[in-house]
């Protein structure tokens, strides 16, 4: 039997002539200390990518890339087709895992100085692979053609429209027409299924080829300085002196981690199930709060918090600066220390970016900048704010509730967080300031002058004046006392 297999193998290899180069590739010597758990993320990213290819092809057997049918075909996958829900869940969770693993891989490569000479091009291809991975994540979210996808496309179009001069043309090119419709979904399908995966496969092949040709980055030692003139000879000597064949010396960790990642994706898919689809992509249903997928939440938060004047420059120049910075990195610091122990700025940069993105993502989880669209008058003003109030103040409570102040302001910890909480507003603002703020607005608050009668404003401000802690007097305008004369001064003066 073994003889037979050997014979068949030799027959094929005589024609393919692949055995020798493959053996050379898998047995190439790697520095011993790179057989580390820190070096498994690249192969894990490749594993998840292959998983995405398989599950993606399975989904394409049922999915219909038509604006009229896509949502129904997703429902069929979720509910009618045996295990369709599981394949969808695998693909969705695989996407999240892929973005995460690619990012971790990138951070590891950055902190280990692997982008330095002679691996600059490997890093640059890696930057493009990251961009393509994010491109796959966004186009994939569009193919899950639901309300989030529909309005997400609107947000994408609004961002693209801000490009000077070419904006409107880019929008129509992106949407495939004047509005988000059938042609839009079809072109995102082409991008997600043909264009980007094709590029990804090519770039991954080159990326891997370079890892093989140039050798895996050695474990960085503090004080071992990279110099263009000597590095390659040093690396060669290192693999000779302290090298071991990649197979079988180092590969087992990659194999274990790859299997672990596949099982982790499957476990998440099984436990949490597929993502959406949310409501039907019907533009006449406007009772929706569109939100991007997890990895774009930080952007969602950033767009809410940037001052309006900075937004367009940040949207158009920001990505260019970031991408250029990443591409130029190996040329700006192509030599020198590799170890993170001697590169404090590199470590701080990673921490700063991680904390910033983490904070924005966290904020996007509860969107303090958005009015509570459903607060309306359903939330009653708590008893303790009404106890012992006058008729006028109670009238103010009604105005407060009916005019939906609580969409933006919380009272008794219920309500929106767009504006400041009003629990102690009387301590912060005098009566005059309250009237001015209500009528003219200011800061982030709209003016209510046209929407409130003078009587309503008086009642509302009378109620707001009562909102101060028991032992603390409301804010007063001292000049008033002088003008009015007969009013008693608060506090110490007699």
């Amino acid at each position: 039997m073994r003889l037979m297999i050997g014979k068949i193998g030799r027959w094929f290899d005589h024609r393919l002539q692949l055995a020798a180069p493959i053996r050379e590739a898998v047995e190439h010597p790697v520095p011993r200390n790179t057989a580390s758990w820190w070096y498994v993320f690249g192969s894990a990213a490749l594993t998840v990518f292959l998983l995405q290819l398989v599950t993606g092809i399975l989904l394409a057997l049922i999915y219909v890339p038509s604006a009229g049918e896509a949502w129904n075909s997703l429902q069929a996958l979720n509910h009618d087709i045996a295990l369709g829900w599981f394949v969808r869940a695998m693909h969705g969770w695989g996407s999240n895992f892929m973005v995460a693993i690619v990012l971790i891989h990138m951070v590891q490569v950055f902190l280990f100085g692997a982008y330095k000479f002679p691996r600059e091009l490997t890093w640059i291809l890696g930057v493009f692979l990251l961009l393509m991975t994010l491109g796959m994540a966004f186009t994939g979210q569009v193919l899950r053609f639901d309300q989030d996808a529909y309005w997400g496309l609107g947000i994408g179009a609004s961002i693209a429209s801000r490009v000077p001069v070419l904006g409107p043309a880019i929008v129509k090119l992106m949407l495939g027409g004047p509005i988000i419709a059938g042609a839009t979904l079809s072109r995102f399908f082409a991008l997600h299924v043909f264009v980007i995966p094709g590029l990804l496969i090519g770039f991954v092949a080159l990326h891997l080829l370079m890892v093989l040709k140039l050798g895996i980055n050695e474990w960085p030692m503090p004080g071992r300085i990279v110099k263009r003139a000597t590095y390659e000879a040093e690396y060669h000597a290192l693999t000779k002196k302290d090298g071991a064949p990649f197979f079988p010396y180092a590969i087992w960790k990659d194999l274990f981690f790859a299997a672990f990642i596949i099982l982790a994706v499957a476990a998440c898919a099984f436990y949490f199930g597929p993502f959406g689809p949310t409501g039907k992509p019907d533009p006449t249903i406007i009772q929706t709060v569109p939100k991007p997928d997890y990895f774009f939440l930080w952007l969602y938060a950033l767009l809410s918090l940037l001052p309006p004047s900075l937004e367009t420059p940040a949207l158009l120049i920001g990505p260019v600066v970031v991408i250029l910075g990443l591409l130029l990195l190996p040329f700006l610091s192509g030599e020198g220390e590799k170890s993170w122990k001697r590169r404090p700025i590199a470590v701080l940069t990673v921490l700063l970016i991680a904390i910033t993105l983490g904070t924005f993502t966290h904020l996007a989880g509860f969107t303090p900048w958005s009015p509570h669209m459903n607060a309306w008058s359903g939330d009653p003003v708590p008893d303790r704010f009404i106890h012992g109030t006058t008729a006028l103040e109670r009238q103010g409570v009604l105005v407060f509730q009916v005019k939906q102040c609580r969409n933006c302001h919380s009272l008794g910890e219920v309500g929106g967080q767009r504006g400041p909480t009003l629990d102690g507003v009387a301590v912060r603002l005098t009566q005059d300031q309250l009237i001015r703020q209500v009528i003219q607005g200011g800061g982030n608050m709209p003016a209510y002058g046209k929407n409130l009668s003078p009587a309503e404003t008086t009642a509302l401000v009378a109620f707001l004046e009562t909102l101060h802690p028991a032992g603390q007097a409301p804010a007063r305008d001292a000049s008033r006392d002088v003008v009015a004369g007969d009013e008693k001064r608060p506090g110490g003066s007699q």
Binding site: W151, A169, P178, G182, K280, P308, M373, K450
Partner: protein, 198 residues
């Protein structure tokens, strides 16, 4: 491996001899001509490819994406109030499904005087909702707010709501629509923006 590479290796010196004579060889001339010929073929092919890709931009200028569409009878919109209306986009493809149905906010100021706003927030296009009690349009995404006349009240938008041109014809409120309104400056060279944006 070695046998297959040996044949071209033997031929190579011959080629070098020919080209080193500083004359354009017959073979070299035809290779160059072949490349040129393929360049021509690529140019011929590029015209329809670019034309096809750009058709989503150019189509609008040729036939016009915009046209007047009715929203309903004037009487459906009480004076002084703002109501949601829907219309079908004038440009429809068979695969569009429900996406061609579009919503808009209709404010009847008085008599035949109307204001019709796009639901798309002028910040990044999320659907704004009208709150008659507080007299504001509010956006669920990034917290934009607008007054009843569509002007900016607060939040990140840099301008007021997009307003469709409207007229009353035969008792019907009609608007000029057909293009997704987006923020950003109106381009001079590459195509206009719909009138609701300006």
């Amino acid at each position: 491996m070695s046998t297959s590479t040996s044949t071209p290796a033997k031929l190579a010196p011959k080629d070098n001899e020919v080209s080193s004579s500083n004359e354009i060889s017959r073979r070299g001339f035809f290779t160059k001509l072949g490349i040129l010929f393929n360049g021509l073929a690529a140019t011929v092919l590029a015209v329809p490819i670019v034309g096809f890709l750009a058709s989503s931009i150019t189509r609008g200028r040729a036939n016009g994406y915009l046209s007047w569409v009715p929203l309903g009878s004037v009487n459906e919109f009480p004076e002084g109030e703002t109501r949601l209306a829907t219309f079908q986009n004038p440009y429809v493809m068979p695969t569009d499904g429900k996406t061609v149905d579009t919503a808009c906010w209709v404010r009847r100021v008085a008599g035949d005087q109307f204001q019709v706003f796009a639901v798309n927030c002028a910040h990044l296009g999320c659907p704004v909702r009208w709150f008659p009690q507080s007299g504001l349009f509010m956006c669920p995404c990034h917290g934009g707010a607008y007054y009843r006349d569509g002007s900016r009240a607060s939040g990140p938008p840099e301008r007021g709501l997009f307003e469709y041109p409207n007229k009353v014809e035969n008792g019907l409120v009609t608007i000029q629509a057909g293009e997704l309104p987006t923020p950003g400056a109106v381009a001079f060279l590459t195509g206009e923006k719909p009138p609701c944006v300006s």
